[in-house]
């Protein structure tokens, strides 16, 4: 069974046409991988469907716009995957 990171990396690679080997846990989806907000909608859609969750993009965007959080907190892939794991755990609780 693929880990959360492996599944997310595969989604990003397929959705954004980025070689899988370039997608590593320490990369920031936006600043390192060059994914734009429209591409990230596709990624969020695929992640939501794959894991049966709902990534709270609106809340994250609001916090970023209000400088309550940094882009790295949500979009470094290791941190994104940790948040996905939290959402999966909450769903299964």
């Amino acid at each position: 069974m693929a880990t959360t990171f492996e599944a997310v990396a595969a989604i990003i690679s397929e959705t954004s046409d980025i070689p899988l080997e370039d997608i590593t846990p320490e990369k920031n989806a936006f600043t390192d991988l060059g994914i734009d907000s429209l591409d990230f909608l596709d990624i969020a859609f695929a992640i939501d469907k794959n894991f049966g969750i709902k990534i709270p993009l609106e809340k994250w965007t609001e916090e970023l716009n209000e400088n309550k959080a940094s882009v790295d907190e949500y979009f470094i892939l290791s941190k994104l995957c940790a948040r996905i794991d939290e959402l999966i755990a909450a769903k299964n609780a």
């Binding site: 429209l38 909608l41 969020a44 859609f45 939501d48 709902k54 990534i55 709270p56 609106e58 809340k59």
Partner: protein
């Protein structure tokens, strides 16, 4: 349909916001300036306007689902298939269903048919954003009331 004004939906025939479904009717006009260019001597509804028609049906369903608190903007068209021509005077059935209700976005599957025959279909994705101003919000509400037989509440 008033093609020049991008008013693509004429009647909402069935709407189930809670379950994310809409059925609408679009009456293709007999005459339009659009047909003067597309195409001279062989008028056809442009495929992009058929996609817009599917987007508007999806959009009205999403607006009703969100009680007109936010606005869906078309962001992505995936796998659109334009299967047959649409000529002036045809009556189209437009259907859309919610595929995914995300955070800040929504995806639908939409299709247009005529007398049971498939015309086109596509997956559509929308960004869900605040209305940029009250003018647009009020216009959407007014337009929805014009084409809808059922109240939004």
């Amino acid at each position: 349909m008033l093609l020049e004004y991008f008013q693509m939906i004429d009647v909402v025939e069935d709407l189930d916001p809670a379950n994310g479904r809409i059925v609408a009717r679009a009456d293709v006009p007999l005459e339009s300036t659009v047909f003067e260019g597309h195409f001279p001597g062989s008028p056809l509804v442009p495929g992009v306007l058929l996609i817009e028609t599917m987007a508007q049906a999806s959009g009205f369903m999403l607006l009703a689902r969100m009680k007109f608190e936010k606005m869906p903007f078309l962001a992505n068209v995936t796998g659109a298939k334009l299967r047959t021509f649409v000529e002036p005077g045809e009556v189209l059935r437009v259907e859309a269903e919610l595929e995914h209700d995300g955070s800040g976005f929504a995806a639908t599957k939409a299709r247009i048919s005529r007398d049971g025959k498939k015309i086109c279909d596509s997956q559509l994705m929308f960004r869900i954003m605040p209305f940029p101003n009250d003018t647009l919000k009020n216009n959407m509400l007014d337009r929805f009331k014009q084409i809808s037989h059922s109240p939004t509440e």
